[in-house]
Symmetry: C2
Subunit: 337 residues, 2 copies
């Protein structure tokens, strides 16, 4: 069983990518990680620790400044395109991980791997912590589709519900529509159109959720267009980080060193809870093979967790469930209207 | 000088509204607050403390379930419509405060008061704290206009820049466009269209800002459509509140009572910093007279601060500056293209 990892995606590539891959293979003896990218540079970081680490040479890299479609079509020797080719052509490669440009990973997933039948658009589904111990919330879409039609949001809802259900062993996860008010009549053109249609889906649709409800633990899946979802995700990261800085500052002001140290201890516990690195990456739900995007500032722990997440999703049969759910149930429900 | 306050808007009306009004007139001897709403109920709360507090009877109230346009047109005896009539018909009434339905306040502002010449849509402009001491950030629009065209965002940018400049004595506030990436080519249809046009405005446009940058203090004004702005605002509130709950829980776990108490003391200081009540309300920038919406869960402190904010905005000539800025400068700049 192999997972291919874009060795030159993300702010801290290739060092953190390589270290993450080495951590991952140590934790799963059946796993081999294939790293794509400049062979010489990768080997330098690996420094002989190449048990179940393979390299596929790729001299080029795709950056955030590249136009995604052009980059995927033209940069054939980039670490990301090589990774997609490996995923596409090899049955033993079960999934792909990249911390590179979201647009390029999405484009690669669509052009090289393709969509599950019945899915109009693959969606990026991120996980965030809530105030409830060991309970997370998923946001779908959070950046792959910045301009959405109602059909897309319906697919996001069904796919994310399925994903949440598998990941958390919950039968009917609570799915809500992100909106600017709780009432049914609230919203922009898109959410007003989607609301009545969501009620007919074979999911546990609980109505609108405002952005302030994300962390309460009352909602399992938040469905939204990728622009608003991206704002929600990044605002959460930004405020968590901002408040952490404020707490640190307060702790430093404390005249008693012991108290300051204790405060910092508490703070580290809190920070660990808020650390998005432990949650792995965000899958593009709806692709024929598993493609997981992790954030640009991912560290080794995150790369390791994201690789192991791919293994878990594969073993639990996420794509088979989505395929069955979307192509059968959704079709039936939508024909009934 | 009078400020009219919708006595039956908000979750804690009329008690918190009345108490807030009494606090406000105590702090400004030239101020009279006119409360609209059920006279009997208001008088019961006032309980004789009616120095510079006036009541205008209104038996009806507008709720979040009312369709805004219908409510403003038909509920003529509602506390909000009475308040708008008073604002419209009396030169000594300088502004209006309401914690009621955002849609109804916006509709009332447009139908009863009207827009400043040259402004296509009034925008709701909220203030949030940042990690930098005494530095706040403004979000415009944050809920008044959930479906926007590029022209609207250009007006929001100019108005909010002017508002920030007046409120903070800063000459060229840093204005950014909320987007899903820092690069110019990133974004949805709206932001991609607006970006090049923003560069031509007579403001200090610093480019795109991602939602995670809101609290850093590096940006003064964030321009966005009302749907994404609402998500940004409420996500910030939600995460701040969620993290506060986590800190409280950690503090309670501490076996040493003294440390727990100290931790809570630190926490209260932090909470005070994050408390949106101290920032007053959000003005609808671009209305002929000052209309300030405050949040539904506003307490007496917030009502007091919002009333005093109206006085400040009036005395600093916000509307005169916006009028001059929008009708002259914007027109010139846009004709030049």
């Amino acid at each position: 069983m192999k997972v291919v990892v874009d060795g030159f995606g993300g702010d801290f590539a290739p060092v953190e990518v390589v270290e993450g891959a080495i951590l991952a293979v140590k934790q799963n003896k059946n796993l081999t990680v294939v790293l794509t990218g400049d062979k010489e540079k990768l080997e330098k970081v690996i420094a002989g620790r190449n048990e179940r680490i393979e390299i596929v040479d790729a001299k080029d890299a795709i950056t955030n400044d590249d136009q995604p479609t052009l980059a995927i079509r033209q940069k054939k020797d980039s670490s990301l395109v090589r990774a997609f080719d490996l995923l596409k052509d090899n049955d033993d490669v079960i999934g792909l991980v990249s911390a590179g440009s979201t647009g390029a990973v999405l484009t690669g997933a669509i052009l090289k791997i393709g969509r599950i039948k019945g899915v109009s658009r693959p969606a990026l589904c991120s996980i965030l912590p809530t105030v409830v111990e060991n309970k997370s919330v998923m946001i779908c879409d959070c950046g792959a589709n910045v301009d959405c039609k109602s059909e897309h949001l319906l697919h996001f809802a069904v796919m994310a519900s399925s994903y949440y259900s598998i990941m958390n062993d919950v039968e009917n996860p609570k799915v809500a529509l992100l909106n600017n008010g709780a009432e049914e009549h609230k919203g922009n053109e898109l959410t007003k159109t989607v609301y009545p249609l969501m009620k007919n889906l074979p999911i546990n649709f609980i109505g609108n959720a405002e952005a302030r409800e994300v962390m309460t633990g009352d909602v399992d899946v938040i469905v939204t267009d990728g622009f608003a979802g991206n704002v929600l995700l990044k605002a959460t990261e930004g405020v968590a980080s901002g408040m952490s800085k404020m707490i640190k500052k307060e702790a430093k002001k404390n005249p008693f060193a012991m108290i300051g140290a204790l405060l910092m201890g508490k703070f580290r516990g809190l920070k660990a809870k808020m650390d998005i690195n432990k949650y792995g990456g965000a899958p593009f739900l709806g692709c024929k093979k598993l493609v997981v995007k992790t954030h640009g500032s991912a560290n080794r722990l995150n790369f390791c967790n994201t690789i192991l997440q791919v293994v878990k999703l594969h073993e639990k049969g996420l794509n088979e469930q989505i395929e069955s759910f979307v192509s059968k149930q959704l079709k039936t429900e939508m024909t009934n209207d």
